[in-house]
């Protein structure tokens, strides 16, 4: 079966599942609902009593662990970058039986960043976003909290597997796959039960997160049904599908985070729909280029990548098509944030700079990814030398900031307290963003230099590229420090941060327009609203014993 057959199967199954979830068929009968809830909680026995079930605890636990995972992710990536110019730097670890190499460390750094940081932050955010948008509560806070620790265990296994694929003849990566899928199954059931109990029409960001999660098993099912899993093109597509999963979840989190953080309504629901439909229809250029990682995860043999002519045509077209949802997402997020003139009023709000950076960088990096993937798909392989750096750039400048920014913007609401220091949050942003961008761009420059020498068939060691790599790895260290700053700020905030309820403004105002302002505002903000004019009447919502009159602007 070809690539397009697998894609059509994926579209059909996704469509059917979406309709079933939306219309309340199958898992949404009362019997199956109570059965699922029983499986999520009581069936687990005593372990479920170890965790707290109060509102917001699941989201807080996932977000905190996701933030903490950024530290090892950045540290391991830093070591991988360093070893690319100094392969013997960690040779003393051989005394412990470890033999770290640049490639294995970079791959494990990517896996920790994707599944440990990004995955946990996004799942944690979804546990707040889905119930919030459906005006309901999470079906099982206890199960969701407990599952976060199993997911963390799975990430640890993943790290071991990336550096030591077999222990005592047993492949390690499939164990991580089993663990992550068990957790994902529990989270999906939890989300479906939550969606089933919604009391109003759920906006698209929530659906994006749910469909994003469900698309992971659907994609593997589609490839298995069409018999593509044993083919090189099928394994390549499996890697691309993981990009679709995370892109959908990131989109939901970004759209919600940008709206929540800025206090503006979503700029365009049509663009949100384009993002969701486009992400499912197209092939996402995010992620590693080879299908080898998918075969490792599934525990099957790696097949040679030999796409047919039809595969190349369909793949190139669907890859190019992915720019539409990415541009739609970027435009929607940037316009939503600026609708309230947020950068004039509140430039330091934790999470907003990260969301801004991610939305800004998504398009250029996607275009870069498109070139590299098309180059690989067509068998030209002239740009594959930069693909690892490009994946790292996409990860540390788009996906991690997007998931972290969204999580930061909702964290006060789920934990009940704000970050300890806005100033530290700003420092953390600049360290992380500056370190990642400059460090990886320098590394990419060295990659280009190496590629040029390989093409010219020069055998000598490229000392210039090595010097640039030193600079790149040292600059990337800023990301490690930034992640420590973020973690410290978040942890201290949960204990000593100002209570989020204190921010609720009693003297909120509303302008005579469809827009409701929920907190105190300024003349600038009112004028920045599309319906705010010089003669807009501002009426205080709170009532007092004193005779009132219209507030003068």
């Amino acid at each position: 079966m070809g690539l397009i057959t697998a894609m059509i199967t994926f579209w059909l199954i996704t469509l059917v599942v979406f309709i079933m979830v939306n219309r309340g068929v199958w898992v949404f009968t009362d019997v199956s609902k109570s059965m699922s809830l029983f499986m999520l909680e009581k069936a687990l026995g005593p372990p479920i009593d170890f965790v707290d079930g109060k509102k917001g605890s699941a989201s807080t636990t996932w977000i905190l662990q996701g933030t903490l995972w950024i530290i090892p992710a950045s540290l391991v990536t830093f070591c991988g970058l360093w070893l690319s110019h100094d392969p013997q730097a960690l040779h003393s670890l051989t005394a412990w039986g470890l033999n770290p190499a640049s490639k294995s460390l970079t791959t494990s750094g990517i896996l920790i960043a994707v599944y440990g940081s990004m995955g946990m932050l996004l799942i944690g955010s979804s546990m707040h976003i889905v119930p919030e948008l459906g005006a309901t509560s999470l079906a099982s806070e206890k199960n969701a909290t407990l599952m976060s620790f199993v997911w963390t265990l799975a990430v640890i296994v993943m790290f071991v597997a990336a550096n030591n694929p077999e222990i005592a003849g047993v492949p390690v990566m499939p164990i991580a796959t089993i663990l992550t899928n068990l957790v994902l199954l529990a989270v999906i059931v939890n989300m479906l039960l939550t969606a089933a109990s919604r009391t109003r029409k759920m906006p698209l960001p929530a659906w994006m997160m749910i469909i994003g999660m469900i698309s992971a098993p659907i994609s593997i099912l589609s490839l298995a049904l069409t018999g593509s899993l044993n083919l090189g093109s099928g394994q390549w597509l499996a890697t691309r599908f993981s990009g679709t999963t995370f892109f959908l979840m990131v989109s939901g989190a970004l759209l919600y985070g940008s709206s929540k953080g800025s206090g503006n309504p979503l700029w365009s629901r049509s663009l949100a729909a384009v993002t969701m439909a486009g992400a499912i229809i197209s092939i996402n250029p995010a992620g590693l280029i080879e299908g080898e990682i998918a075969s490792d995860f599934l525990g099957i043999g790696t097949a040679t990548f030999e796409p047919t002519r039809n595969d190349i045509l369909a793949g190139s077209f669907l890859l190019a098509l992915s720019l539409i949802p990415i541009i739609a997402l970027s435009a929607n997020v940037l316009a939503t944030m600026r609708g309230d003139d947020v950068f004039m009023e509140n430039p330091d709000s934790p999470g907003m700079p990260e969301i801004n950076l991610a939305a800004f960088m998504a398009v250029p990096i996607a275009i870069g990814g498109l070139f590299v993937h098309t180059d690989y798909l067509t068998g030209t392989n002239e740009l594959t030398g930069i693909h690892t750096s490009l994946v790292l750039l996409g990860l540390w400048v788009v996906f991690i900031p997007a998931s972290l920014g969204s999580a930061l913007s909702i964290f006060p609401e789920v934990s009940g307290r704000n970050m300890l220091s806005i100033n530290r949050s700003r420092w953390a942003f600049w360290l992380m963003a500056g370190g990642a961008f400059s460090g990886i761009v320098f590394t990419m420059m060295a990659d280009f230099s190496d590629m040029a020498l390989i093409e010219a068939a020069v055998d000598e060691e490229n000392s210039t590229a090595n010097r640039i790599r030193v600079l790149g790895s040292v600059l990337f260290y800023g990301t490690v420090i930034g992640s420590v700053y973020h973690s410290l700020n978040m942890i201290s905030g949960t204990f000593r941060g100002t209570p989020a309820s204190e921010e609720q403004n009693l003297s909120s105002t509303s302008i005579s327009s469809p827009y409701m302002l929920t907190k105190e505002t300024t003349v600038r903000k009112i004028l920045a609203q599309r319906e705010g004019k010089l003669d807009t009447v501002v009426v205080p919502e709170s009532s007092t014993e004193l005779p009132g009159s219209a507030t003068e602007i």
Partner: protein
Amino acid sequence: MLVMGFVSTIVFLVLYGILFPSSDLPVISSVLPVFDGVFDSGIWFFILGALIGIFAILGTMLAEATSE
């Protein structure tokens, strides 16, 4: 407590040296060679910095949780 632990360790090491002269310490002797070659490369200074950060987080968590 910290001083007591430090003094006990020294006393134990001295006693071990007297009782089992020229014998390697069990476990510790096999772990210590790990540090052969450490700081040969500048990467260790960066790793040390990250470890300080990680311990700062652990310390903050302990301090915050026990401050009341």
